[in-house]
């Protein structure tokens, strides 16, 4: 290793293990406009993407630091035409390589090249099924694309892993979604309820399902589980707004997970950049080793010294580590507060308010905000609109 000793940086509160999971967000460019996208709302400001050589160096440094799972994500990672080069190097280094894609751009030729590069796994996501809900339900265009992509994935011997973000507008069709996965001969299906960050947070009132919707969806999923057995493994992720205790977010801040954004910013999770007042390092001027072990941004929420009384005195603090720092920041204005999903949080009423609204049918609501679709124009508008408020 040629990383310089980290003398100028702070010592970690708790010495973490290696960054086992590396998420390489290659680009924020995307042909889709999903209302639940977790890319930052101000993504349009992030225009200078890392070069191929930068990424190759990131992969090598991360591997030396102990990373072993590598996800190529975005935006739509297929839009990078050096994807095959990066996958080949990652595979050569010993990473297990995952591609997270909508399937748009995954042609037979590129699939062949990716297979040759040694790509281990493709996670195929359903497209924005809100804008295309009718199409999706009628099994026309979307189905054709998914069918073609699924055939390509199968033909190359990859496991078929489907991911569908579930929310108020599509959760009632969960049976159809499962049927689609069966038709595509998928091995795994992730039914991931939208988590309310970034674009999904902007659209939260329109996306958070009612309790009744949620319970029905779980019933339907369980019925299919019984019917299908091991042929299709399904993961159902509930929205944490309906829980009384927070999730152990990212399995702990700076514990196993390392995200590199398209411009090279290194984050402990893909949304952490929203937390104002925290400085995050960039791979352009710091090694992965130093980023992980010695940068203030990564050490800030390690251990429990940062916790406020609600968490510090809580007997359950080791179980969830106070939940999600981003959620605490979004809903309380201070990332060091307990995640307000927790019913011990003094801000828990913020979550209850959203849950209460979710029980009101759309037709009976007095205020209905239009859905905001993720695209560069909306990104610039919302960034400008929110800038003064941040000062």
């Amino acid at each position: 290793m040629n990383a310089p000793p980290a003398t100028a940086n702070v010592a970690p509160a708790v010495q973490p293990g290696p960054p086992l999971w590396l998420l390489a967000e290659l680009t924020y460019r995307c042909p889709l406009h999903c209302v639940f996208c977790y890319n930052p709302v101000d993504f349009a400001l992030n225009s200078t993407e890392l070069s191929t050589d930068d990424w190759l160096r990131v992969l090598r440094e991360a591997r030396v630091a102990g990373s072993v799972q590598c996800g190529f994500s975005g935006g739509e990672p297929m839009l990078r035409d050096d994807l095959e080069v990066l996958v080949a190097e990652a595979r050569r280094l010993g990473f297990y390589t995952n591609l997270l894609t909508s399937g748009v751009g995954l042609t037979e030729a590129r699939a062949t090249a990716l297979k040759q590069a040694g790509l281990d796994h493709i996670q195929l996501s359903f497209q924005d099924s809100t804008r295309e809900l009718n199409d999706f339900l009628s099994h026309t265009k979307t189905f054709d694309l998914k069918r073609r992509t699924a055939e390509i994935i199968k033909a190359h011997g990859w496991p078929m892993v489907l991911n569908c973000v579930v929310h108020r507008l599509n959760i009632d069709y969960i049976g159809q979604i499962i049927e689609l996965a069966v038709e595509l001969d998928a091995e795994y299906l992730e039914l991931a309820n939208s988590q309310y960050y970034s674009w999904a947070e902007l659209n939260r009132d329109a996306l958070l399902p009612s309790r009744e919707q949620l319970e029905r969806a779980e019933r339907v999923t369980n019925a299919y589980r019984e019917k299908l057995g091991d042929t299709l493994r399904m993961f159902f992720v509930v929205p944490d707004y309906y829980e009384n205790r927070p999730k152990k977010c990212m399995n702990g801040w700076g514990n196993i997970f390392l995200t590199i954004t398209p411009d090279g910013t290194a984050l402990p999770c893909h949304t952490a950049k929203m937390i104002k007042g925290l400085d995050f390092p960039n791979v352009r001027n710091m090694s992965i080793q130093d980023i992980w072990y010695a940068s203030p941004g990564f050490n800030h929420f390690r251990g429990d010294a940062w916790m406020k009384d609600t968490c510090r005195t809580c007997p359950e603090k080791a179980k969830d580590l106070g939940g999600c720092r981003c959620q605490a920041f979004m809903l309380t204005g201070d990332a060091a507060n307990a995640d307000p999903v927790c019913d011990k949080s003094p801000f828990h009423h913020e979550v209850l308010k959203a849950v209460a609204l979710a029980q009101i049918p759309d037709a009976q609501r007095t205020v209905v905000k239009p859905l905001v679709f993720r695209d560069p124009k909306a990104s610039r508008q919302f960034t400008e609109a929110s800038t003064p408020a941040l000062k």
Binding site: P18, G66, V68, Q69, N98, D120, H121, Q123, E187, D230
Partner: protein, 94 residues
């Protein structure tokens, strides 16, 4: 597929299942099993068994090899127990 699959016996020639990759991780000083978006860190015994599964060697031959190498006897129940778990988890094929 059936939840009650036939157990792996001494005459089987098991191998690591497709879509799983077994490799030594220096940073963790252990054998790990990698699969889509996940990883299982194997303990020392599990690592010693898994790295010997090649689809050609019988379980009996594998046990003989382990007993010779570690100068011990009576490993059969432990190996069969582990293989049963690994099979149930989908990590190995008989």
């Amino acid at each position: 597929m059936n939840a009650q699959q036939a157990a792996i016996g001494l005459d089987n020639r098991p191998r690591v299942a497709a879509h799983f990759r077994l490799q030594w991780e220096e940073a963790q000083k252990s054998w790990v099993l990698l699969y889509p978006e996940g990883m299982v860190k194997l303990n020392v015994s599990a690592g010693e068994i898994m790295q010997r599964l090649d689809g050609e060697k019988t379980v009996q031959a594998l046990i003989d090899e382990l007993e010779r190498q570690f100068e011990t006897t009576g490993l059969t129940p432990d190996v069969l127990d582990f293989l049963a778990i690994a099979h149930r988890q989908g990590w190995v094929k008989p």
